[in-house]
Amino acid sequence: MTSYRLPKGGLIDRQSPLSFRFDGKALSGFSGDSLASALLANGQRLVARSFKYHRPRGILTAGSAEPNALMTIGSGGRTEPNTRATMQELYQGLEAQSQNRWPSLDLDIGALNSLLSPFLGAGFYYKTFMWPGALWEKLYEPFIRKAAGLGKATYEADPDGYEKSWAHCDLLVIGAGPAGLGAALTAGRSGARVIVVDEHALAGGSLLAETASIGGATAAEFARQAIAELESLPNVEVLTRTTAFGWYDGNVFGAVQRVQKHVATPKDNVPVERLWRIAAKRALLATGTEERPLVFGGNDIPGVMMAGAARSYLNRYGVAFGKRAAVFTTNDSGYALARDLEGAGVELAAIVDSRADAAIAWSGKARLVKGAFVSDAKGGKSLSGISIWKDGKSETLDVDALAVSGGFSPIIHLACHRGGRPVWSDTHSAFLAPTKLNGLSLAGAVKATSGIAACMADGAAQASALLGELGFKVEPATFGAVEGDIAVPAAKAVWSIPGIKGKAFVDFQNDVHRKDLGLAVQEGYGHVELAKRYTTTGMATDQGKLSNVNAIGLLAEARGVSPADVGTTTFRPFYTPVSFGALTGAYHRDHFQPVRKSPLHDWAAKNGAKFVETGLWYRSSWFPRDGETSWRESVDREVRNVRLNAGLCDVSMLGKIEIVGADAGEFLNRIYSNGFAKLPVGKARYGLMLREDGIVYDDGTTSRIEENRYFMTTTTAYAAGVMNHLEFCSQALWPDLDVRLSSVTDQWAQMAIAGPKSRTILQAIVDDDISNEAFPFLAARDVSLFSGQLRGRLFRISFSGELAYELAVPAGYGESVADALMDAGKQHGICAYGVEALSVLRIEKGHVTHNELNGTVVPADLGFGKMVSAAKPDFIGKAMVDREGLVAEDRPQLVGVVPLDPAQAFRTGSHILAKDAAATLENDQGYVTSSCYSPHIGSTIGLALVKRGSQRHGEDVMIWNGLRNEYTPGRLCSPVFFDPANEKLHV
């Protein structure tokens, strides 16, 4: 393999050779190379296979629009499919693999598809593979899926870190080419907060591929100095390797910085990628242009390259894209390449200019053919020659490299992300950005300005104007004279090229060719959006950066209209694809969501708790003891022990809200459906909160601690929602009420102490008298603990149906207090119990939770009809709770359910059927909302919502779990299985 590296030139460090592998082959390049430039330097022209026909493909561009040269980089958890070789910086030891070929890139069986191409035209699959229907999933689809796709992703977890960051600035400059640098220097010198992003490793944009000079320095040197100045300014941040991928509402830009994608071994305390959200007061789009390919036969053969890319490889990387080249251009830019190629000593056979009247002077050696077209390129895996068509005659020319320029499409992507539509310009043969962009301006080539000096000046002027809007006074920066630049005046686009024989590709990656677009129009899919969807043009990983405008031009010709009438498909984020890793940042694996820890977490842990995720909390689920072999065994023991002796359960996760203010009582009266106006100080009351539609929202107890101070508890699940709701009611609905709210969930460690011996145990640490007389059921007061060492809040409330209390103590002392209670309770047989036992105890007592309060029940469904106050003039939910459907006869109502055979268990989620009814939807009577094994009853018991349930106690039913084929004959009963007379509560 011959080297294409030129003996000198380029911005590479020839003192730093790097070795790398492509498909296992050892190759070498230099520091400063992209993977693409290194491959080209090594003469590796065939780098990929296309999607559908598996055609040999080479490197087409030198940037992020690359449709062909996609490779898989890395291995293991760092495997990265579909990486653009043009954007990947070379590093020592880089491993790249080609994709979508079998058995090898060179010999790819899939290329046989090319032979079938007459039958594989656009949308062919919509017309066949339909018979027999069952074969789609079994035969056709697996085959198609296997053949489709590009690289292979890994299932392994990524070992590297990611993070996100916000940034704020007065001016964001996107793109550090001539216009961007002009703007950044102007803005930087003003003292404004400036951020400059550029997607390449080296800022400078097109200047890096230039041979022109600016103020006597090479363009690249000018860029280097400009960046050095910007980096020295404290008010400027330059982010290279950073792609602004989206423009969002509020002038927020999404950008991704490839922090360590260019190193062999990333440092583990630094992310490999960082996602930026940049809130910019003003932004300037200086993204330049994308050069358009030309649609001629064989335009995809390796060796055909965009002219600007060829120039970039030549001048920036010191690599010749061929040994004997030709240039095919529709505009003056091809001449800059031609001049540079000859200057670098690369043989240039011809310049083919589509314009018969091209005015540019050419003084080089190469032959200039005006008014001509390259109609076909020839060769298989590498270009061998071209056909030049002129005035109906064809000649062939042997070349191994062809540079093409079909004009320029401004990179207006971001400017269109917020709904603006591009505007076709006949003058520029291009779509320009929408106007009236709020907060975003454009500068330089992206708005069809041509020439280095003009772009720099435009950038400077735009920056000055934008900062002027923000009150900064700054003159546009000025720059030294530019010499040797070839400005490119607008030229007429060429869509259809005459004389084509081979396949002429529009979308390279998706193998959409000229005729596919014609077929789309013929079949009625001529609308640009339909053509895209039908042919897949523009849907590849480059999102049509190279193909879309050509597709539109060809559609326009086929339909006989202007590209303006065809319009574009919608530009949407992302400008270039963004990894899940970057979008995820550090919030992955067990850091996906934060952990919320109870103040009694460590207490539970040292008592052997098994934990369960409950929202963001970890709750203690049960506390296994030595010798217990199943969770059920532990839970049964805990339940029995609570009913026999006492138990302590962490209930700190309940939402707790302190409500103060002169109108707090009135407020509560409007929040709850039941009355709260007469709640005395020192008492707790169970309350039911409805939504405005009359459905039960949440429940809990609220205690009156002082005259105008209440302490509300909510369920764990709805704690945050209830707080938001209360704030809504107090701020938006009734701002006239004096109500002030403070969430005290985290202030208190709260423990339930339940069981017949709970009072005795508590009295050991509580200084106040808590006898039944002094502290009756529903008493709620601040108490003194440990001989005055601590204040706590004690509530005599019971979820279990036993004599029970909830004690709240300042969180930092929670563990110590729980230890003291366990210690004091030891002689009385206290045990720690978890939410599983808590759940059994409450089901036995028929208490509801969000299993029952599932967002579809009204109070009456739960037997709480009396808790809907008729007397109160207003409360949330009052107006809607009486609607026909909410008071209907056959509404599901809360019942208990037991198996007829105590040895038979059933599960939550089972449905209730009438005794001998078939399992059909029509016969569905309801469903089990909660179930458990009840040590008290000696069988599984359940709560259920059953049609007319309250009238059906005693009815035999079938408890049906079709998912497990379980049929459990059962009986409906009262939902209260334990102490229906509530005697235990009052002892």
Binding site: G74, R78, P81, P118, Y126, K127, T128, F129, M130, G133, W136, R145, K146, A148, G149, L150, K152, A153, Y155, E156, Y248, G254, L275, G419, G524, Y525, H527, E529, L530, Q543, R572, P573, F574, P577, V578, S579, F580, G581, L583, Y587, H588, R589, D590, F592, Q593, E613, R691, E692, R883, G885, L886, R907, G909, H911, A919, L921, D924, V928, L963, R964
Partner: protein, 416 residues
Amino acid sequence: MRYSALSVFLNGLRGNKGWGAAWRSPQPKPHYDVVIVGGGGHGLATAYYLAKEFGITNVAVVEKGYIGSGNVGRNTTIIRSNYLLQGNNPFYELSMKLWEGLEQDFNFNAMVSQRGVVNLYHSDAQRDAYTRRGNAMRLHGVDADLLDREQVRAMLPFLDFDNARFPIQGGLMQKRGGTVRHDAVAWGYARGADMRGVDIIQDCEVTGIRRENGAVTGVETTKGFIGCGKLALAAAGNSSRVAAMADMKLPLESHVLQAFVSEGLKPFIDCVVTFGAGHFYCSQSDKGGLVFGGDIDGYNSYAQRGNLATVEHVAEAGKAMIPGLSRVRVLRSWGGIMDMSMDGSPIIDRTHIDNLYLNSGWCYGGFKATPASGFCFAHLIARNTPQETATAFRLDRFARGFMLDEKGQGAQPNLH
């Protein structure tokens, strides 16, 4: 021309010059028996079934853009019938059955792929809710399987079973669920309707609804007045705006739902999986892109685009579910405008205005409902009585208190 392997072969031999237009581009006639507003999946399906099943062919579908430019062309292509409530479940199962025979029925390969849908659960409460739902499905003869952790692991070993913040406990699977090539659904219905005489009129925006003596007599459009016997609105996303032309206010809000596709990959994930501990669901298109989505952005919107916070939220959930996604790149995001109804269920009903029929409120479940929605709406238009599986989708259910609230979120449409 009938599509078949043979026709593909024969046309291929002739350079594909013989294919005709899939549908005509007619100018509107002055009057139709039925005018359907909205050339999306539901509108086109309605036209197709009106013509095919109910013999009503003097029908126009008017579409303000190109056909399929609404949500049928911007969703995550999932079909399933795993619904809980009696008012919903038979309807979605009807839809599933129609999907199962659709391609042969309308002679267009929409790539209906019953590759299975798995909803993961991560807690006992979720398992219990899926048990209830799976049983409700089974009661109606819908396939449902409750998988435990090991069964899910055997199927989808690449999910995070080792380091997850919310460990996967199992999943509810509907094997008959899957995906469909979404655009092809619009095209197949359009072609099928057109073949039966329906006029599909693109680039024709409705600007007003004309009424005489209270009854609808036609629509003003950018292509002039079009008279009709019955006017059928199937403009989900914009239902409120169209209904406002008849002075109706609906129990709907329009919200944006984003969806995403990754770069093309070799087969990575075979079924549809939904995460139970965050907003993420994912499948892989036949072309190789991972198609995924999450929750709506949460605010009323008519802009077909969303914001980055939601994108990140979805990606976080995605990587939490499948750690291997980390280095997979997301190619494109887009947004669809959803008719979010006040209880999360749709409306297929007559209105209090004579000759005006309403199909709306699909939230983000409209794609899977396309065939049944079209069928039931056609039934309603043709017979003036609701099809038996769609009797609960009444407009007055809110006033009367018969909400169809699968999630129990109440009148808070951004939570459905």
